[in-house]
Symmetry: C2
Subunit: 354 residues, 2 copies
Amino acid sequence: MASIKDVAAEAGVSVATVSRVLNEHPSVSVDARARVLAAVEALGYRPNAVARSLRTDQTRTLGLVISDVMNPYFTTLARSVEEEARALGYSVIIGNADERPDLQDHHVRTLLDRRIDGLLVSPTDGGSPLMLDTARGGTPMVFVDRWIPGLDVDVPVVRADGRQAVRDLVAHLYGLGHRRLAIIAGPAATTTGSERVEAFREALAEYGLPLPDAYTGQGDFQAESGRRVTDAFLDLAEPPEVVFAADNLMALGALDAVRARGMRVPQDIALAAFDDIPWFVHTDPPVTAIAQPTGELGRAAVRALVDMIEGRPPQSVTLAAHLVVRRSCGEPAPATTPTPISSEEPPVTNRSQS
Amino acid sequence: MASIKDVAAEAGVSVATVSRVLNEHPSVSVDARARVLAAVEALGYRPNAVARSLRTDQTRTLGLVISDVMNPYFTTLARSVEEEARALGYSVIIGNADERPDLQDHHVRTLLDRRIDGLLVSPTDGGSPLMLDTARGGTPMVFVDRWIPGLDVDVPVVRADGRQAVRDLVAHLYGLGHRRLAIIAGPAATTTGSERVEAFREALAEYGLPLPDAYTGQGDFQAESGRRVTDAFLDLAEPPEVVFAADNLMALGALDAVRARGMRVPQDIALAAFDDIPWFVHTDPPVTAIAQPTGELGRAAVRALVDMIEGRPPQSVTLAAHLVVRRSCGEPAPATTPTPISSEEPPVTNRSQS
DNA sequence: CTGAAAGCGCTTACAG
DNA sequence: CTGAAAGCGCTTACAG
């Protein structure tokens, strides 16, 4: 592969001059510029980004460690992150943690070794030593979706607040006559894992409903755990009337479990999910879900990170999630109820509110 | 961030010695080794991968340019690629082309600039100049899923052959009494775009059925196009009885279109899809689909690429896809039929055959 | 406007 | 077994 030396030789100038035209430095004669450009063209020269990074100490690259690529929520997030980063002149390298803290650490380490300019993380746990060191260390970092509370450093957080949406969901369920409500929770060490249970518990309390341990299943945000927990619920002497899955994959697992028993949603058991995905419109029955403004979250996270990298004060952002009522919890109340519940939305769009 | 010099100073040895212990070079005294390791530990030193790459001219990194991150098929592929690469000591950088040739070229260029050791591509088009140059150039490359025919260089191809599965599908549809069959095709410039139409046309021919132009809709493998094409089909004076979507996203779009008209699958129109995904089990109705051994494809592709990189002869691989009958085309024939059609399979598993 | 030179952080013959 | 030195491909003060 041609190097800057070859270009310099071909153009009859020094490598310094070549570098200057490549970096659009103003002090280059038009003549030199033209000859360099011609040489670049002739040789099909492309600057070696590795060498450039070593010299400039910046890679123009962002690292994104997501919890699970198989989860459409994170895939949507990754897409918007890459889009916004590209618009700002950065590339992004994605690491998939598969909900495993060890894999997450592996990717963080690899990304740091590559000297990415900044790191976007959705932690799979409460904070490994590596993660804490990284937060304290020099690399700009922001949390997306999930974060690590109680850090002694300021790490911006970009996330959705689902509390009101969960309250709307419980109102909806209560209105439908459901009283025995269960949740498939995510790992308690993750913020989204614990917050969603808390929000659910608090909302239930407003109606004087308990959330017994037997109705609090421990999942890991992946389908298999949704299946397992739902199975356990159905084995109970008094099974819940509703299962609320804390993410869409566990909802998929729940559907698998219900179907495996030849039971039906919502007749035998109702189902709702955190995170909305296009397929929920077409499942049998369509699934009531809490939708996040995912695209907006990804963009805001990139903006915060790039602000840090470029020395501007970054901004934490919290956007509201909202309830989308479909039929998986029973027939919805007539559309005339004065509650702030939206009944349906176009398949792919995300709505953001602040 | 500590550099190798700092470690050398701390350990009281030269940087050469530090480098040797880091790279497990045999000729280092146990004493020096111990002091270096202690220094590394004390300083929290991590080698700069950028500098190492510049020096060794290898990045231990693979580039993967996929057609669309929002497509579960490619997401599954990406996951298995990353897994196998990691097992072989490589990282992978994913670029999402979003089915846009310009974006694909952007990512290929970026990846090449970073001097990745090898490139895995699922081309979104028939071969841009850049892609052709790359194939001819020095960077090891292999095609996954889609490929570019008629290249003057040998680029290994790892893909699934769906011809028999499509034949099984048509047999199934014919057996159900359907005679007016339509297809939502992918871009003709992609191999999977054209091959799936051809396989379908040939299979129809075996039953003396035509595939009129009006029943050949041009999609782009994304949901919106499935919606648009299905709408056009339904507007026809004589709409098809079955729509076969050449990928799962266009099938999603088709479901959207059918639903928007208040029509039902399969009563009003039947639906089948290329690519199977876990949600197809739970849609209303469950969708009959052609499943690829996706995980196996990703692994085989990585093995072929790493073989090239490390100087071993790479191997092209073609695996068979298979039909999974569900209920979206009408009630399936009794399970006793002697046809080689599998009726159902566990939700997430991929089966590979060669 | 231009070039010679230093240096980014590593690895690796080469000499001892 | 060990270190001094060259060099990977760039960028960027510095001097002219």
